[in-house]
Symmetry: C2
Subunit: 459 residues, 2 copies
């Protein structure tokens, strides 16, 4: 009997594995597809690869300012994909080498929990094998959802996973359904690599997410327009037809779009449909019910990541995996805590956020003051030819304690952690202001975003 | 009478100005050269501009992996300089516009303190003007030093300031005297932009600075060798001759170097030679003596930045300026505090540090444990094609409280602030490990650099 069976090797399963190996446990993993799960093979990592490429392509338009003269020969998504696959392959191989070095068995197939301590693996060849474990961790992630009768076929109607893993060449025209995170990330990539992109969003703004301020959506809208991306807000797809190798979309406002391919990015749902036959409790949306310690209704079966009802983010899955393994084998009961979860979006510019927006604070009855500073005059941003962006910091009005931060601009996804640590440590505007930051750095903007509050206004 | 007269508009003077304006004070500035001082015009900012260019040039060698095909036409330092001047000009102009908007008088000339409340300005045309202020801040910075009879002439023997501000074209051969921070930064830039570079260093390693670990020096040495930079350690220049438009350097080991130009980067000394005629106290090296509040022996005269004996860093100058102005006009006595000063170097790779190295801790009698993790497997580093680098974290052995951090690799100078905040808040390895970082980000490396200590070793 294994100490631990992990079903799924995405960011949750992988992190649980790392912990189990470091605790010298006897662990087995079950994986129905490629090692590394969606995050590594079809989501975060390939997205950021293509995004790094897109950002580099845009940067080429500026580098004469570094004295570089060149002639652009070609930009090829197909070539980029080849090397993207190589990069992902390198990371996947490092995982498989670790498993081999640690002699950790990998059961290839779909895992189903058939008993409190039993996992049955249905293999590709149709055979089954059953293994036993003291503890089981469900980390099977999520699958893309659909909307309005648009059924992904991998040819005309793609999921984000098709786009990331299978798509060899970009279509001339791509229509993205959903202007949320994935839609804005992949729509931007496709646009930079040469597709004519439309985005159809049912709500009244891009990134219509509570913790994203309208300020950010407005900036992105402006940027997308400049890039020639055709954004349709307040509409949805009423009907669609495949005609002469093209897709015709009839929108709710009566307009029509003819497009080569449709990319569906309207959300994900937990991948729990046939995870067990022993009565593991789920909620009405299919999320596995877990307690504060990530335990299901079976005391030795835990779940983490997109299968539980917490923020659907890779790093939340990893965090939960660490908490779950500690609760299984560690000394103390550790409660999961989502009070500080930084996140970021990589689209026309980088956007990162942690804590509360001003609107969210208001809803909670917290009075706020906020500090703002643009990237424009930041010396490092000038040196890097990347002066687009801003920082907004939100403070509780009386204590001036920081409760939220948004950064839009280069390296937003890194420097957000400085403010995440500030929130964690309940730092005040004065303390953030007084801190010594390297010059020239982007992080210095935090000094300037606190000046109005700490010292006084300039104008 | 002005509330405050600031002598020098570098990072110290500029920050003092910002504070004074926000406090609605009646302030005047004295500047003998260009607004923004050395940092903006001849040091930090142009260095990082050229470094961003150098990094971009190196990156070009990798971008076929993003599906980009191009033909390189030319790399021109001269062109880069033109745009560098433009970028610096933009920043300088924003400062001059601020001064104009606030109707702040700028006295162009060399300031000398001729009375407790009096500053005499010697203008370029030889005339003098005297102004009066309740408070005076000396922020006149530093000037390059020389060594071994090598006297800068701006033609064969250059200071770093000549290199940054005046140099229009790179020589075929450049020999850098001094393998410290500036030498490694400018030597690398010259090498990437096309010069054949030699570096002569009297000590036994590059960056022979206490707070830089040998590990970092070794990595840099390897990288410089790969780039074809000729590094000579444990030697100094014994003699030098100008012959046929070239400089012949005779080294202490008997070897000779023939070079087009010599770049002197052997340190700086405080620019205080004729700062006053009222007896402001200085130490034997020319640093102005100040108390914990940055006050000189005159209670209304303060000093900050390179003129006082504290780390010679632009951001320390800015910090001191804030402290000085607060002590002049604010409500409380604020002591200067250098316990947490992050700094960074931009050479073949980016290096950043904060707190203590393991060696420094040992000298202080502190037992340590340390955590290490390479950039190699960090998913963002892979996506960015920038997998060279590592993180080392130093903890007090028993408490596991973090006391130091070194990051070498891309964005080191930004993510170092996360660890600076960790040190500030006395966080432990466990707390750093448990924190949720965005995935994929470089900052996640901090989780992996704490795994051995918090959970256990993998092998």
């Amino acid at each position: 009997m294994y100490d631990l069976i992990i079903i799924g090797t995405g960011p949750g399963g992988y992190e649980a594995l790392l912990n189990a190996l470091r605790l010298k446990l006897n662990v087995a993993v079950v994986e129905k597809s490629k090692l590394g799960g969606n995050c590594l093979n079809r989501a975060c990592i390939p997205t950021k690869y293509y995004r790094a490429g897109s950002h580099t392509i845009e940067k080429l338009g500026k580098i004469k300012k570094y004295g570089i003269q060149f002639e652009l020969k070609s930009i090829s998504f197909k070539e980029a994909k080849k090397y993207k696959d190589e990069a992902i392959g390198f990371l996947r191989k490092s995982l498989s080498q670790l498993l081999k070095a640690k002699k950790t068995p990998v059961y290839k197939g779909t895992g189903k929990i058939t008993g409190k301590n039993r996992v049955e693996i249905l293999k590709e060849d149709g055979t089954k094998e059953t293994i036993e474990g003291k503890y089981i961790l469900i980390a099977t992630g999520s699958v893309p959802t659909s909307v309005g009768g648009l059924v992904p076929d991998g040819k005309y109607i793609l999921t984000t996973e098709n786009f990331m893993e299978d798509l060899e060449e970009l279509p001339e025209n791509l229509t993205v359904i959903g202007g949320g995170v994935a839609g804005c990330e992949l729509g931007y990539i496709a646009s930079v690599y040469g597709s004519k992109v439309s985005i159809v969003e049912i709500k009244d703004r891009l990134l219509p997410i509570k913790s994203i301020s309208e300020e950010v959506s407005r900036n992105l809208m402006r940027r997308f327009k400049k890039a020639g991306i055709d954004v349709r807000l307040n509409v949805y797809v009423k009907e669609h037809y495949v005609e002469n190798g093209k897709v015709k979309l009839v929108l709710s406002d009566g307009n029509e779009i003819y497009t080569d391919k449709v990319l569906l990015s309207v959300g994900r749902r937990p991948n729990t449909d046939s995870i067990d036959e022993i009565g593991i409790e789920k909620d009405e949306r299919g999320f596995i019910k877990v307690d504060d310690y990530l335990r299901t209704n079976f005391e030795n079966i835990y779940a983490c990541g997109d299968v539980v009802n917490s923020p659907m983010l890779a790093h939340v899955a990893s965090y939960e995996a660490k908490v779950a393994v500690e609760n299984m084998f560690g000394k103390k009961n550790k409660k999961r805590d989502y009070s500080i979860v930084p996140w970021a979006i990589f689209t026309a510019f980088e956007i990162a956020h942690v804590g509360l927006t001003e609107d969210e604070a208001k809803e909670k009855g917290i009075d706020t003051v906020s500090g703002y500073y643009p990237y424009t005059y930041n010396e490092k941003a000038v040196d890097e030819l990347e002066t687009e962006g801003f920082v907004r910091l939100v403070f509780e009005k009386d204590s001036k304690q920081i409760i939220g931060a948004t950064v839009a601009g280069i390296e937003a996804s890194e420097i957000i952690h400085v403010m995440a640590y500030a929130i964690k440590n309940k730092m005040t505007a004065q303390e953030i202001h007084d801190f010594i930051y390297f010059h020239p750095s982007l992080s210095e903007i935090f000094v300037y975003a606190t000046y109005d509050i700490v010292v006084g206004k300039l104008f």
